[in-house]
Symmetry: C2
Subunit: 434 residues, 2 copies
């Protein structure tokens, strides 16, 4: 038995952490740093690490945990409360990128290259990749300029929540379509059955956790996160194998289900380390490892530039229009659109899914990664620009959504402080006895 995988994991953990710290210094999202670490270590540059089956399976598990986390972060209660404006902004912000992305892909003339003319389904898939917003970098930026607790900030937080769900509905439909069955009724039937399955699981899980929470109170707490993770794995498997929609949708649905059970915060706090200690770094590094420098012909460069423009402009137009429809000023519409333009891990996950299902050409993967990186680099700059000249107190507004983004971090800091305190007490004790 070879022990090299231990060193491989050590290098992945170390390098993704160092690079994400560095990218944080440059005000870039950690995703960019982690991707870069994989790219540098992989065959494309240094060639220290190579993709392996073990890494691929860990990365796939990482994807499932990321989507499970995303689902847990989307409480149904908050979805209901997020209001009409959030819904309209999200809806327009999904439909416009979907349409423009599909259009770009379908109309782009690859010439005599390896890619060839794409089918409508393949084009639809690229549209789906463009739908998912990543809001974390926007939140950071708005916090930095003191504009997070504003009308625009609140509508962005609400829309980003709904955006995720709508994007996954698109993916459900497209992946069911890609399942090989040509007849639309079969596809619809699969989706409806999956939906029924998810609702049944939700009811069962809700009842079970309510009963169990009363029964065990705060003893034997481990059972909650372990059973929740088992539910997530089961629903991911069932979504993929039994219903022919993507596994990540099952994982997201499991997260949604867990988010309305009594111990959801505790479960989140235990899934989190599983994610950031092992699975998420492996996922990002693995993407970087798989990149080989393609022959950057003129066509691919042109496509990449068009893709980046489409990605940013489509969200700007879609969300901006949505905001205007809800009575926002043009300036606020532009601010909202820029705030929603960032893409992140979900876009990468959907793209990977498409590659795994064989409906997305490998050559398009590189441009998508570049698109994600460019969006993260450009949108904070553009967003700050869109707020330039506003007084610091303009449009301040309270929000309950905001608390959630703060909560996890605060809990963790409190726990660390408690441990520090507890430790001091223990260290004093032997001295007091002696």
């Amino acid at each position: 038995m070879s022990y090299d995988y231990l060193l491989t994991l050590c290098i992945i953990l170390g390098s993704t952490k160092v690079f994400s710290i560095l990218s944080g210094r440059l005000h870039l999202p950690q995703v960019v740093g982690s991707l870069l670490a994989g790219l540098l270590l992989g065959p494309a540059v240094l060639g220290i690490l190579a993709p392996s089956e073990f890494l691929t399976m860990l990365a796939e598990l990482g994807v499932i945990v990321i989507m499970f986390n995303a689902g847990m972060g989307t409480s149904i209660q908050e979805l209901k409360e997020s209001g009409k404006a959030g819904f309209i902004v999200a809806m327009c912000g999904v439909l416009v990128p979907l349409a423009l992305g599909t259009g770009l892909m379908y109309c782009f003339d690859w010439g005599d290259g390896a890619v060839g003319k794409l089918t409508l389904l393949q084009s639809l898939f690229l549209g789906t990749v463009l739908t998912a917003t990543s809001v974390s970098i926007t939140v950071e930026t708005l916090r930095e300029i003191g504009k997070l607790s504003t009308k625009v900030g609140n509508v962005i937080l609400a829309a980003a929540l709904i955006d995720d769900v709508l994007g996954l509905v698109c993916l459900t439909i497209v992946s069911a379509l890609a399942g090989g069955s040509v007849s639309i009724p079969v596809v619809l039937c699969k989706i409806v059955l999956f939906f029924v399955f998810a609702v049944v699981m939700a009811v069962l899980a809700h009842k079970f956790y309510l009963w169990y929470d009363r029964r065990v109170a705060d003893r034997n707490l481990h059972r909650f996160p372990v059973s929740a993770f088992a539910l997530c794995l089961f629903m991911a498997w069932a979504a993929e194998v039994l219903f022919g929609v993507a596994d990540i949708i099952g994982a997201f649905a499991a997260g949604l289900i867990i988010s309305s059970t009594p111990k959801d915060d505790y479960i989140k706090s235990k899934i989190n380390p599983l994610s950031y200690m092992l699975l998420t770094p492996v996922f990002f590094a693995n993407i970087g490892l798989k990149i080989t420098m393609p022959q950057m012909d003129l066509m691919l460069v042109a496509f990449t530039v068009l893709l980046v423009l489409t990605a940013i402009l489509s969200k700007l137009i879609g969300c901006g229009l949505g905001a205007k429809l809800c009575g926002f000023t043009t300036r606020q519409g532009i601010q909202t659109g820029m705030g929603m333009a960032c893409r992140g891990e979900v876009a990468l996950i959907v793209a990977e899914k498409g590659a795994a299902m064989g409906i997305m050409p490998e050559a398009v993967f590189g441009p998508i990664i570049i698109m994600v990186v460019c969006c993260s680099v450009f949108t904070p700059v553009l967003l700050k620009n869109a707020f330039r000249g506003e007084s610091p107190y303009e449009g301040l507004e309270e929000s309950s959504l905001l608390d959630d983004y703060e909560m996890a971090r605060r809990m963790d800091m409190v726990a660390a402080q408690m441990m520090r305190h507890e430790k001091k007490l223990r260290q004093k004790k032997p001295g007091a006895q002696g």
Copy 2:
């Protein structure tokens, strides 16, 4: 790509949890339940799951995390404070089982069976398997009968800590001997070099974490557990590949190093979920999966019975003598010996290691598992018996070691209660606004 591994992991998590809850009801350690789950699901009984390379690598990672945890639970400070009595009990409790186990293995006449006459090195390995005490079930039993805070309880806690370290010193020597190099100087050189390496890493890590803790205080906390886990993986790899001692020793050493850094409690609290949410269940289930029902010939049955007797009696004699040497009464000596007789996951890990290194016959693995299960079943009964007739207030004594066993659980409960409270506050807020 096949998605069956998702279902496999789901079944492993679910079944090990259910069986360990059931075994808890029967006052057996969770290890027994988890092993049983793997055994039932595996080829030996139901044949639902089969060992795979992915599971084996996850299980190996689980072993490393278990040993890392064990190392973190062994603070050098506490080792120093654990006193002469703990050290003598542990020393005798390691030497006697080592000698008797080696003797049993070397002298046992397998007849014409598949095993054949064992070499001294192979026999030494079985002796090493018998050295490691698992104290968790003893702690539970003593707590149940109210005898944990006694002189005997305290010496057991102290001796169990030292016991782990001494057992791993044995394993270091034996595994270095088994590395193929026949010359004793080379083996000694390897061990000394590894020791020097560990000390250098300890000094570097200590300085780094002290500096870093002052620098970042309680922000960006994730970096502590991630870097600690990377250190663990690196030291496991280095121990195995560079120094030819087992990877688990590197992981344990890394844990020891981390245990004396400022954020050790926080790091523990994040390594824990990684362990119990995924890696440890896979490790136990994987052991169960690998068991095939052997032709239970008379020889193997006889060997198993002798092994169980040797395991329990050798600890009883060794630790009992050690306790007598420290001025304990005969009754207290028997209590101490019975309290140290339980074996657990470390015995299984060492045995697996031996099988992987090819110096332990596969046929012996079954008897070792049965030995671990029998020890866990018999010792609580025998231990309670050894305390029968004592007044409930006899020999009560305070201990600072005890706090550690309670601490992690208490912290977790407090965190869960805080989350519950925080949630109520948040749920009230929208109502107050509306």
